[in-house]
Symmetry: C2
Subunit: 327 residues, 2 copies
């Protein structure tokens, strides 16, 4: 515990205490937080850590961090179809920098407010910059979206566009001389990814499985394939790629960004074919594109990659082989 | 995420998957864990971080760390009267050291097993050694032990003995030439504190308030005084001090260890006088000493310190003044 942990908590992290939530019996201030779970609901719990130089670049703005620690954890709730409720934050800081903490906490609370969430606990510690959040959401009984329920013949969808976040990270690392509006768009997609919370909840009785894309499309979809013991046919030409990404990067680069780079925080989900019209009715009004990129198949835990109808040899852990044959 | 996070999880952290808990719908392996909370119970949540060089000495044995990350979090559940259920662990490691992880995880699971707990999630990250755990327990509705319910006239108790852990830490730092059996006892009290889980649950309808002693008796009891808006008369000569501590350290040292040093993880609690016999009936059989050290009074949020019946001038943030007058 750092010397003035209590003053920090009081000054910057007590805003949440004013917010009423009938299911929170005790928030910050006692040994534990106490919460009630509404009848016929289960609690979804996820925890994620962001560490400087590993998960974010040195000198990332504290506002972006305050946003991102919530967003990446929310993305896990989205992938289960959970409604966000509460969060705890463990903050490790190299030193007390009041301005840094002010920016971080302001953006943290702004983000929590926009999802109607409440900070219910946490701790601050001295050490190399790192943030761990545990996030809590609720789901009606038996309606969680799991990874192990994809069936052969199910269609595979992704929300939004893929690869923008990885392109944004590339730009932050490589600092181009001029930052155009469209390059800033990509950077923003990296710094401020939008977790697909509403999609997740609306997919509850429609999708057979879901996961959020944090490590990269092929890596994350692979987890559904492993848990569901099936394979996937993927139409590479159906991947949703933003015009901004295509216009600013080579095909080699954007394909890599879209398939094997992470942090898009879009949802990848499967639905039985009979649910196509239900899917439209449920999520069309959200105004976010969603695209069918393939179909679950019986190939054991692996991929069959197609490009414009042609079965191609594409390394799902890289892009070189594909490009040699298909550029 | 480190490259082989999944292999690490699979090899060392999947033991829990075999353990049945009817309230766990989904444990490690999906985006979130899913749990049910038994009817008429509330969920207690606490989170704590241990960081190398801040919370533990460099080169602390991974077995001790695997124990301690559970124990310090359990202590928060104990102080609320909660029954332990689940835990998530976020582990940040500077490098993959299989033997380190083996020792850590083996002792972690052994400790969890002994409290009938289940690991339901977590993550591993590369970075300076640090561990954050979030712990979950359940409490029957309206029976949680809070910090704000102490009343004037209530008696103040502590479990076990105070100061042993601080003495143990002192020994680890100052490395005496010969480590006697009794010095090893003190070191063990520091490395392997026993959270008072059974006491906490048995105090549910007896204690008016409770807290665990992690920062030091006066510092932690002060929180009860602040939240309950009252003061305390403390009989310094009633503090439970082990013979081992008294025999191996000066009075100046052991008084400091017992009052202003932390990590004993004993419970400090208050009870209305009418509950004295209930208290005996409830916890005598546990075979752990518990001592009345004072009484809640109306002094606003402060301490009145007595030594053998005499009101003395004792700095609750230090020991010097007391010793000048009373040694």
């Amino acid at each position: 515990m750092i010397l003035d942990e209590f003053e920090i908590i009081k000054k910057y992290f007590s805003k949440t205490l004013k917010k009423f939530d009938e299911n929170v019996i005790q928030d910050i201030g006692d040994d534990c937080a106490l919460v009630k779970i509404p009848k016929n609901h289960v609690l979804a719990i996820s925890t994620d850590t962001l560490t400087e130089k590993i998960h974010f670049l040195k000198d990332m703005h504290p506002s972006d961090l305050g946003y991102k620690i919530v967003a990446v954890n929310l993305s896990d709730l989205a992938a289960m179809g959970a409604k966000p409720k509460w969060i705890t934050i463990s903050l490790t800081l190299p030193k007390i920098n009041a301005l840094w903490i002010k920016h971080f906490s302001e953006c943290l609370f702004k983000t929590l407010d926009s999802y109607n969430m409440k900070l219910i606990g946490g701790n601050t510690t001295r050490g190399p910059l790192s943030i761990t959040a545990s996030i809590y959401g609720i789901i009606p009984k038996n309606q969680a979206l799991l990874r192990n329920k994809a069936k052969i013949g199910d269609l595979i969808y992704v929300t939004g566009t893929l690869g923008d976040s990885a392109a944004g990270l590339f730009l932050l690392k490589n600092k181009p001389k001029t930052m155009t509006k469209s390059l800033n768009y990509l950077v923003k997609k990296h710094l401020r990814p939008i977790p697909r919370i509403m999609h997740g909840q609306l997919l509850r009785n429609i999708a057979s499985s879901a996961i959020d894309i944090s490590d990269g499309l092929f890596s994350d979809l692979q987890k559904i394939l492993n848990f569901s013991q099936c394979g996937a046919n993927i139409n590479l030409n159906k991947l949703p790629i933003s015009n901004v990404l295509k216009e600013n990067f080579s095909k080699k680069k954007w394909l890599k960004f879209a398939t094997n780079s992470g942090e898009d925080y879009e949802l990848c989900f499967t639905i039985p074919k009979k649910n196509i019209s239900n899917l439209k009715n449920a999520i069309n009004h959200l105004g976010i594109q969603y695209n069918c990129i393939g179909e679950i198949d019986h190939i054991k835990n692996g991929y069959n990659i197609f490009y414009r109808g042609k079965n191609i040899n594409f390394s799902c852990k890289g892009y070189n082989h594909f490009l040699k044959n298909n550029e």
